[in-house]
């Protein structure tokens, strides 16, 4: 399996207290990875490092064996797409303009978009079912529509790796499932590697091929959902009692906290 991202003993602190400690992991092609863990475990910080939004001075992260810090921004954006937890637009861009931003790493200077750029944008709009409102203002859309537009814009970068920080936290059940289904179809048909940071362990368990449990800046467990979602580990990490069972409809694990 070809390697996309390799992290070798990453340490990081915003000020003095370490946020990430000795993180090592390797992501291959066509993986669907869910990063879970309590608040403040360092999940988002790790994702930001993978996206190159946060950087450390040493070369600890490698994209296809090249040190991430030394890859020019545009080239990095052609390999890795990242969706922050909150995106706030100050100006009212149309959906089309937001989609075009996803083509920026493929353009040069002021150049007008090529036919290929337009084709890619048409294609991702079709996939995410946003064709109907491409001319509307982004700020007028509902939460679910906005999230789909942002994902479409990220996919327009044609990345090998897409990183999403709590992509479904503001969405209803229907849209939560929809987002995960889109990501899975991209993972399975195009070999895209997907990494989601999420608090929704059940959705993650259903879609992820691999889960990473973090706590206090360290990786505690890394493996298929049934190896990570273990009774004792979860109770220790989250400090609540949990009930774990198998959903007969999907044959994936689900957990219920109780107290």
């Amino acid at each position: 399996m070809p390697e996309i991202l390799n992290i070798d003993r990453l340490n990081f602190a915003y000020q003095h207290d370490p946020v990430l400690e000795d993180i090592s992991l390797t992501l291959g092609e066509s993986e669907f990875v869910g990063i879970i863990g309590p608040n403040g475990a360092g999940k988002s910080t790790l994702l930001k490092h993978m996206a190159g939004v946060l950087t450390c001075r040493e070369d600890r992260l490698f994209i296809e064996n090249k040190p991430l810090n030394r890859i020019p921004r545009r080239r990095l954006a052609r390999a890795v797409a990242y969706l922050p937890q909150e995106v706030e637009f100050v100006f009212s861009f149309s959906v089309d303009e937001v989609l075009r931003m996803g083509r920026y790493p493929h353009t040069h200077g002021i150049r007008i978009y090529s036919q290929r750029d337009e084709d890619v944008i048409d294609n991702v709009s079709r996939m995410l079912d946003i064709e109907a409102f491409r001319l509307r203002n982004y700020s007028d859309l509902s939460g679910g529509e906005k999230q789909r537009v942002l994902i479409a814009s990220a996919l327009a970068q044609e990345p090998k790796l897409i990183l999403l920080d709590e992509p479904t936290s503001a969405l209803d059940l229907h849209h939560q499932l929809g987002i995960y289904q889109i990501l899975r179809s991209q993972q399975q048909s195009n070999g895209l590697t997907v990494v989601v940071v999420t608090h929704d362990i059940n959705l993650a368990a259903q879609f992820c091929t691999r889960m990473i449990l973090m706590d206090h800046g360290k990786i505690l467990r890394d493996g298929p959902p049934d190896q990570v979602l273990q009774f004792q580990t979860l109770q220790d990490v989250f400090g609540v009692k949990v009930y774990i069972d198998i959903n007969p409809m999907t044959e994936s694990l689900y957990i219920l906290p109780y107290g």
Binding site: V53, R73, R74, R78, A81, E88, F93
Partner: protein
């Protein structure tokens, strides 16, 4: 932007640049140029350079207003939000108070002191606001506002020490004005404005993305740190030169980008050229008003732009508060 809009914009610029020199304290008809030496001199040495100068100042202020609003992610930002103009003003006021009769490449002490003040301010802001992850918009705004307040108090202090003539000159300078003779100012401003515009225009698409936030912009492949730095320095230097030549003329940098965004949307690839051109045309007509309203005397053009800009700004705030109330 369809073809009709482009053509009407070009037409508007031509009309403005060709006609406004003939309007003034006394109307000069176009055939007077060929019959009267004095008329020719007034048109060629006084009014035409002044009209070009006004156009370039308005062009620069609207351009910088638009990019600073994107850089600071704040649609109420102006070219003066970062406090560069107060540094420039402090320099000018100091020059007036000290009474230096310095001339350097044909520029007066006021211009030289003002440019120096602006450059020093740019450096101070940069040193305070920079960090490993770029310049945070909020830090930049806070730094700018603090520096403005500090320099304003220093300007007041110098005012307090100054005599009546000096005070009058200082206040007159702070109102902003475009009274120039000859081609030196427009020909100095022209290359600075054109180079800054071309640079910013080349990065218009990246500026679109920058306005959506650091993290988003980085993930889309924008070299945020470098772009920020270049917008900041390029824009600030242009503002410094404009303020040194024309004083802090207000409101153009605020209202023109807003107006254009309302009319044709926020895409900087259109907003920057159209906004800059409309800014130039707007200031030419404001200055024409300033030259003619109380002729043979003149009003400071800053008063006119503020009189038109103030009510517009209030309407904008009203619209904002209504929108957030819904």
């Amino acid at each position: 932007m369809n073809r009709i809009k482009v053509i009407s914009l070009i037409f508007l610029v031509m009309l403005t640049l060709i006609f406004s020199p003939f309007i003034g304290g006394t109307w000069i008809s176009p055939d007077d140029i060929f019959t009267s030496d004095i008329s020719q001199q007034i048109i060629m040495d006084l009014r035409t350079p002044r009209v070009i100068f006004a156009f370039l100042v308005g062009f620069s202020l609207a351009l910088i207003g638009a990019v600073f609003q994107a850089l600071l992610r704040n649609d109420l930002a102006t070219p003066y939000t970062l406090g560069i103009s107060s540094g420039g003003s402090l320099g000018a006021v100091l020059a007036i108070k000290s009474g230096f009769l310095l001339h350097w490449f044909g520029f007066s002490a006021v211009v030289i002191f003002s440019v120096t003040g602006s450059l020093a301010t740019i450096l101070i802001i940069y040193l305070i606001a920079r960090s490993r992850y770029g310049m945070a918009p909020l830090t930049l705004v806070l730094t700018g506002v603090t520096i403005s307040l500090l320099f304003s108090s220093m300007i007041l202090f110098i005012h307090y020490l100054a005599d009546f003539t000096e005070t009058y000159r200082m206040i007159r300078w702070l109102m902003g004005g475009l009274q120039i003779t000859g081609w030196q100012y427009p020909l100095t401003l022209l290359p600075v404005a054109v180079v800054t515009f071309l640079y910013l225009y080349r990065h218009a698409h990246a500026i679109n993305i920058l306005s959506t936030g650091h993290e988003m912009a980085m993930s889309k492949g924008v070299d945020v740190l470098r772009l920020q730095k270049r917008i900041f320095f390029g824009g600030s230097i242009l503002v410094g030169v404009v303020v040194a030549f024309a004083g802090p003329i207000g409101f153009i940098g605020l209202i023109i980008p807003h107006l254009i965004r309302l009319l044709i949307g926020p895409d900087h690839r259109i907003l920057l050229p159209v906004g800059a051109i409309v800014g130039g045309v707007f200031l030419v007509w404001c200055d024409t008003l300033a030259r003619t309203m109380i002729a043979p005397a003149e009003l400071p053009v800053g008063i006119i732009t503020a009189m038109i800009g103030g009510p517009f700004f209030m309407w904008l705030l009203l619209r904002h508060s209504q929108k957030s109330a819904v």
